[in-house]
């Protein structure tokens, strides 16, 4: 369903994605895991026609997003990592606008908006402007909106960031249901390893713009000789905190890993 080969994206001298390759099969739930700044969102932006790759190739349902953006856009839905709601519109209006943009017929639209807003406990606040919402409510609305139409491929970029456990549970139950009943292919990122372990069929771990491991949760634990996905993840990506300069020891570890491959 998605095939990525040697994908590269640079911003000036920052190399955000450095030769990434992976395959996502149709009907699969695929988790793309990595520390902050690893290149996950940049990859998703290239897959979803928001950015042009510097080099490398992407095919999504047989199509190249850079060459056929509109056809590719007809095939996916996305929940962005960053806010993308219109704060001046109400929750209902945000849903409605999305439904029109995605050509959801009016009857289905009205029905699904009610179902989803109720599911994420926003129905009572449907008439309030989104800028009056709390962070968690906005996040729930983003997710409800992302689920309004049923795409072939659903991208979820850290969808559960800032959500309470109840909403998280709703989300993953719903996503699994979509995957099982409608055969929706899911491409997700998350920092919560328990979520990835719970829903993902396969996982790719990305660090510093490169894929460092791929396989089922089971495979990754075996490859690293660890008990949990969390430990496997830390073993693969080091334990230093990102978004700060990488320290010497971590750099050594990175180098060592490069050599080993």
């Amino acid at each position: 369903m998605i095939r990525v080969e040697n994908l590269v994206k640079t911003f000036g001298d920052v190399i955000a994605v450095e030769g990434v390759s992976f395959d996502v099969r149709a009907g699969e739930i695929f988790a793309f895991l990595g520390p902050n700044g690893a290149g996950k969102t940049t990859t998703i932006k290239m897959l979803t026609t928001l950015l042009r790759p510097t080099s490398g190739s992407i095919t999504l349902d047989g199509l190249d997003p850079a060459a056929k953006p509109l056809d590719v856009r007809r095939r996916f839905g996305i929940v962005f990592q960053d806010p993308s709601l219109d704060g001046d519109l109400t929750a209902y209006e945000n849903m409605e606008l999305h439904g029109v943009l995605y050509h959801v017929p009016r009857r289905v639209r009205t029905e699904r908006i009610q179902t989803l807003l109720s599911l994420f406990e926003l129905w009572d606040r449907r008439g309030s402007r989104v800028k009056e919402f709390s962070g968690g409510m906005k996040r729930r609305l983003e997710i409800a909106r992302g689920l309004l139409h049923t795409p072939k491929i659903l991208f979820l970029d850290e969808p559960t960031l800032g959500l309470d456990p109840q909403s998280r549970n709703q989300l993953w139950t719903h996503v699994r249901h979509l995957n099982e009943t409608e055969g929706v292919t899911v491409f997700l990122t998350t920092h919560y390893m328990d979520e990835a372990e719970r829903v993902a069929h396969r996982i790719a771990v990305i660090d510093h713009g490169r894929i460092v491991a791929q396989g089922s949760p089971q495979d990754l634990k075996q490859q690293t000789g660890t008990e949990s996905l969390e430990q496997a993840f830390l073993a693969l990506t080091g334990s230093s905190i990102r978004d700060e300069r990488v320290d010497g020891a971590d750099q050594m570890r990175q180098m060592a890993r490069m050599w080993r491959r």
Binding site: T49, S84, L85
Partner: protein, 248 residues
């Protein structure tokens, strides 16, 4: 069509929900009208040019339409900042439709603002030379609105953040206003200024408004219509092109 309509509706709703801003944005034209209209009136009259309030009112209406439409286009920058732009850019809809919905929405808002300012002018004592002039005046307001909403779209698609905004304001929007003949007659200008006024699309808009409302026109209403219409087509094409190239 549904897509164009809902994006148009969004612009109009956002405008109608910002009542304090609507009031605030009436302040500037009002100040020009009163300070210049009444302040410079006697000088203007002595120079044998007639009633300055009559002369400046169409200019002030044009100014309101200019500012509102160009800012609506630049609203793209806010949508980029607050993230909503992404939502429309990944939708399975030709970007042209999105751009048209936004631009026509912005132009509509600018028209409403222009009509409000025209009403204020009427209250202040402006007297157009007949009701028949109103439809033509509305047509010119619409053309000005489309031209500059499209220009705003070009700018909003090209700038990446709010930093370029001040630059655009000082070196593009203000010159467009001041060189348009909104405040002074276009006849007998020094050559350099004459060239500049001829290059400014707003000159034709305000000249057309004057032609419609007070029956005084420098270029002739037909020329004004032709020039503005062509500029509108060009700017819409440029706006569509710039919008289709946005990356995030």
């Amino acid at each position: 069509m549904a897509v164009v309509y809902i994006l148009w509706l969004r612009e109009v709703k956002k405008y109608l929900r910002s009542r304090p801003q609507i009031l605030a944005s009436l302040g500037q034209p009002l100040m020009y009208l009163l300070a210049m209209g009444f302040g410079l009136g006697p000088v203007f009259q002595k120079a044998g040019q007639g009633d300055y309030l009559q002369f400046i009112a169409p200019g002030v209406v044009g100014m309101a339409v200019l500012f509102t439409s160009i800012f609506s286009g630049i609203g793209l920058l806010w949508d980029r900042q607050f993230g909503f732009l992404k939502e429309t850019l990944v939708a399975p809809v030709p970007r042209l439709q999105i751009m048209v919905g936004r631009t026509v929405g912005g132009a509509t808002v600018a028209m409403i603002q222009g009509i409000l300012v025209l009403t204020v002018c009427l209250i202040a004592g402006f007297r157009p030379h007949g009701l028949a002039s109103v439809p033509l005046a509305l047509l010119f307001m619409a053309l000005i609105a489309v031209v500059f909403a499209a220009l705003g779209t070009v700018i909003g698609s090209t700038l990446r953040d709010m930093q370029g905004f001040q630059l655009v304001m000082n070196f593009l929007v203000m010159p467009i206003f001041f060189l348009s003949g909104a405040l002074f007659p276009l006849a007998d200008l020094p050559p350099a200024l004459a060239v500049a006024t001829h290059l400014d699309p707003l000159s034709y808009g305000i000249d057309g408004l004057r032609g419609a409302l007070i029956g005084q026109s420098h270029f002739g209403v037909a020329v004004d219509l032709a020039v503005l219409g062509s500029v509108a087509v060009c700017f819409l094409a440029l706006g569509a092109r710039a919008f289709s190239k946005i990356q995030i």
